[in-house]
């Protein structure tokens, strides 16, 4: 099956600092990557959708200035949370789409961000 690894699994940062998280597709090529944030109440917010050879599309309330994303190849994506504050806490999930299975997202276990 398709495997997606996210690193780190957990991170704590001081308010106002930044942290970078990574998403690695193992054994397949991800035609697109969707970054979500899951709140402690389990609700999902789509941050952005990154498709190979296309511009990254950010959802309302999320900007490139705050959540810059890098998607250099078909197996790797990274996202940085800049100037993190309490409201940025949550589980950041990376979901990858496999060529030929465009409707399905294969998720990693997420990066849990805590902000002090």
């Amino acid at each position: 099956g398709a495997l997606v690894y996210q690193y780190p699994r957990r991170t704590i940062c001081k308010s106002g600092t930044s942290m970078r998280m990574e998403c690695q597709a193992v054994g397949f090529q991800a035609t697109s990557v969707a970054w979500y944030r899951q709140s402690p109440q389990k609700t999902f917010e789509l941050i952005a959708l990154s498709t190979v050879n296309s511009a990254i599309k950010y959802e309302q309330n999320f900007t490139q200035e705050k959540f810059p994303i890098s998607h250099p190849n078909l197996s790797f994506s990274s996202m940085t949370v800049l100037n993190a504050y309490l409201e940025d806490r949550g589980l950041y999930l990376c979901g990858a789409r496999v060529m030929g299975f465009q409707n399905t997202l294969y998720f990693g276990a997420g990066t849990r961000l805590s902000v002090l």
Binding site: A34, Y36, F44, L49, N103, L105, F107, A109, G110
Partner: protein, 110 residues
């Protein structure tokens, strides 16, 4: 607002019992998906049911889709403790976005 909503918010059953989670959605969809998220893990797809399908099965799982009432259900038969998880429905739209509901917390007790 969430485009897909599950109900009930939480369920508790004993092993071996059957359980059904419902989902309603508000927009035109190309497909409806059910995901399961166990503690400490990311969501994993269980079933994808397309807008022209009415029922889909995957082992002990059965999903239905009613486009006229914009609703779907996921039934699990012969539940096991390892079915304990949060169950989400997610709708595919023509934009390619996948929008998740708020989830139903299912607890299966021994």
């Amino acid at each position: 607002s969430q485009l897909a909503e599950e109900n009930p918010w939480a369920l508790s059953v004993h092993e071996g019992e059957s359980v059904t989670v419902n989902c309603s959605y508000k927009t035109s969809i190309t497909a409806l998906q059910w995901y399961r998220q166990k503690s400490g893990e990311g969501p994993a797809q269980l079933i994808l049911i397309r807008s022209n399908e009415r029922e889909k099965r995957n082992g002990r799982l059965r999903a239905t889709l009613d486009t006229s009432s914009q609703s779907s259900s996921l039934s699990i038969t012969a539940t096991r403790c390892e079915d304990t998880a949060v169950y989400f429905c997610a709708d595919n739209t023509n934009t390619g976005k996948l929008t998740f509901g708020d989830g139903t917390v299912l607890t299966v007790k021994p």
